[in-house]
């Protein structure tokens, strides 16, 4: 398949870029990062939220097959679990590289603070990762085992919890009005599911087997799910933004305005809204394209890109509003700016991680018997 070869090639290039980025990151630490002490979290944290969202969403989807046994989705459980695993790995790698002291990550496990949403989240994701891995192994080796079902039962609420935790991570911050949205923990699982769904569109649409008889129905299902979830997502967005604007809390309004009309307005209007939501919504609502692997797959890609932009638009704007007026000019220096655009090093690392995730997915897709049985049946 041409597409696959191209995908491999792109991934290898991305890995090369990633290798350079990683080298820079490991030798110069965070010196060449564009995030700083005001825009504290940058691309990597956004990518962490993004990948983690896919991971949780994909797991939820896997339960539809492996736990609930929905007929049309038969056989996609393992694929979804694999998607969950590789994206989780990408997520954790992103966030790990973001730490000031990577070598101290063990402290979160052994000396972690239960009161910290971040600690909870790390624990949750780690547990989730192990669980997903065991589930995948079981699904590959003993698909009918009780243990698998039990683990899936445990995993479902866990995936909800961890994706909610991402919302909570931001939401508990009373001082960041833009994040301090009561419904964030509720919204995030929906976002996760939506991104998981989109990831499945890509996985099945672009890389799934054409011989699979269920493929077009599955695509149709995921397409419709994507449309519905996008509508819900847009509703949330509207609710958040309109409330912010009506509430008229200056910090909040500034953050919203930064998203809508700020330096990166295009990320919102073009990537997130037009390409990431409206276009896929329309296309995927159409019966034809929604069943077509190419169409659906590429729409999935668009939705994911939109999601990446959306993650960024949640993380950065809140941070680009000075907590106190005049902070910008009070003291200047590297990493003391309220403007943020990822540095080449950050892009390179993210490219590497993304490339690695896709590569892992492709290899797994080729090597692991993820859908093999289906085809036989």
């Amino acid at each position: 398949m041409v597409l696959k070869r191209i995908a491999y090639a792109v991934c290898v290039l991305a890995l090369l870029a990633g290798a350079w980025g990683l080298y820079d990151r490991l030798v110069y630490g965070h010196q060449h990062a564009a995030y700083g002490s005001y825009v504290v979290w940058g691309l990597w944290v956004a990518m962490y939220l993004f990948f983690a969202g896919i991971a949780a969403g994909a797991f939820m989807i896997a339960t539809l097959d492996l736990l609930f046994g929905i007929p049309v989705l038969r056989g996609i459980g393992r694929l979804a679990l694999w998607v969950a695993l590789v994206s989780l790995a990408a997520a954790l790698l992103s966030i790990w590289l973001d730490l000031g002291h990577m070598d101290r990550i063990w402290k979160v496990y052994l000396q972690g603070s239960p009161s910290s949403v971040m600690a909870q989240m790390v624990w949750g994701y780690t547990a989730f990762g192990f669980l997903a891995l065991v589930c995948l192994i079981l699904a590959l080796t003993r698909p009918a085992s009780r243990l698998l079902r039990t683990l899936m039962i445990v995993g479902l609420p866990l995936s909800l919890f961890i994706s909610g935790a991402v919302g909570a991570l931001l939401g508990v911050q009373a001082s960041r009005m833009f994040w301090h949205v009561g419904l964030f923990p509720v919204q995030f699982p929906v976002f996760s599911l939506a991104s998981g769904t989109a990831a499945m569109l890509v996985a099945i649409g672009l890389f799934g087997s054409r011989q699979d008889p269920l493929r077009s129905e599955q695509l149709r299902l995921f397409s419709l799910a994507t449309v519905v979830l996008t509508i819900v997502k847009l509703y949330f967005l509207w609710a958040d933004f309109s409330q912010s604007m009506y509430g008229n809390v200056p910090q909040n309004v500034k953050a919203v305005e930064a998203v809508l009309y700020g330096q990166y307005w295009w990320a919102f209007w073009i990537l997130q809204l037009l390409l990431g939501s409206l276009v896929p919504m329309v296309v995927l609502a159409l019966p034809g394209p929604s069943r077509n692997g190419q169409w659906a797959g590429w729409m999935g890609v668009l939705v994911l890109v939109g999601f990446a932009a959306a993650r960024a638009n949640i993380v950065f704007p809140a941070l680009t509003v000075p907590e106190l007026e005049a902070l910008t000019t009070a003291f200047t220096g590297p990493h003391l700016t309220f403007d943020y655009f990822p540095s080449p090093m950050e892009w390179a690392v993210t490219a590497g991680i993304t490339g690695m995730a896709i590569l892992a997915f492709l290899i797994g897709n080729d090597v692991l018997p993820l859908r093999a049985k289906m085809e036989v049946a």
Binding site: L99, G100, H101, Q173, A174, P322, L324, T329, P334, H335
Partner: protein, 250 residues
């Protein structure tokens, strides 16, 4: 009228206050800082003193002074507002830390354990006062010429940046690696290491406007206690319930 001052510089008065406070067990003291905005002239001496005392690298600042202009010509004025860490009694920054690396110590001062902090920067996002900054590992002489032997050159010039600072009472040399506090979040700590020696915080000592005052608010005789009983006291973002220990006189 006879001019021989009966006064004492408040720097010495506050050092006396400090001495009394240090005689008490730590939990009975209540360190507070009072900043009289009428006296603050926006000189930034405190900012730089803090940078120098704690050997803060580029991008790290504990106490910037914010400058603003108000009014319209000719009825215009300027205001200068120094912003150390508020040492909140109810700090939003500590509970979010995943590894207990930041917490209120027995003095009620919010500290960062450099050996413990993993550098996730969660606490930065939690602080409503932007009082925390991250140490990205730079030095101010970065980017200057080396030219060994022809001029002083970068590596002979950065000694003063590399020698130890004594935050938290321990020497931290800034070597060329990634040792803490590089990769850590850093913040104002009320100069605990100076308090321990009976010295005022560096920003307080060097405040040429005598705008910054420091002491034990549990001591009825201390200067700060006198000050925070005034009617013109405010605290920043009081509505957030953070209960800052930094008071402003306006």
């Amino acid at each position: 009228m006879v001019v021989t001052s009966q006064e004492q510089d408040i720097l010495l008065r506050m050092q006396d206050d400090l001495r009394r406070a240090l005689e008490k067990p730590p939990h009975q003291r209540r360190w507070v800082m009072v900043i009289d905005l009428r006296r603050c002239i926006g000189c930034h001496a405190c900012t730089v003193a803090c940078v120098a005392e704690n050997k803060l690298p580029p991008g790290v600042v504990y106490r910037p002074v914010l400058e603003e202009e108000f009014g319209s010509y000719p009825n215009a004025t300027r205001r200068f507002l120094p912003r150390p860490c508020m040492q909140c009694d109810n700090p939003p920054c500590t509970p979010v830390c995943p590894v207990h690396a930041t917490y209120r110590d027995e003095n009620g001062v919010v500290v960062v354990d450099y050996a413990q902090c993993i550098g996730c920067r969660y606490c930065i996002t939690a602080c409503p006062y932007a009082a925390r900054t991250f140490d990205f590992g730079r030095v101010y002489t970065d980017g200057t010429a080396e030219a060994e032997g022809l001029i002083l050159g970068r590596s002979r010039a950065d000694d003063y940046e590399r020698v130890a600072n004594f935050e938290y009472g321990r020497p931290y040399e800034r070597l060329r690696g990634e040792e803490s506090p590089i990769g850590n979040v850093r913040k104002c700590h009320f100069c605990l290491h100076r308090l321990a020696a009976g010295m005022l915080p560096a920003c307080t000592t060097t405040c040429i406007g005598r705008a910054t005052m420091f002491g034990d608010a549990n001591d009825p005789d201390s200067l700060v206690t006198e000050m925070i009983a005034r009617t013109n006291v405010i605290r920043l973002k009081e509505e957030l319930g953070t209960e800052p220990r930094v008071y402003y006189l306006v």
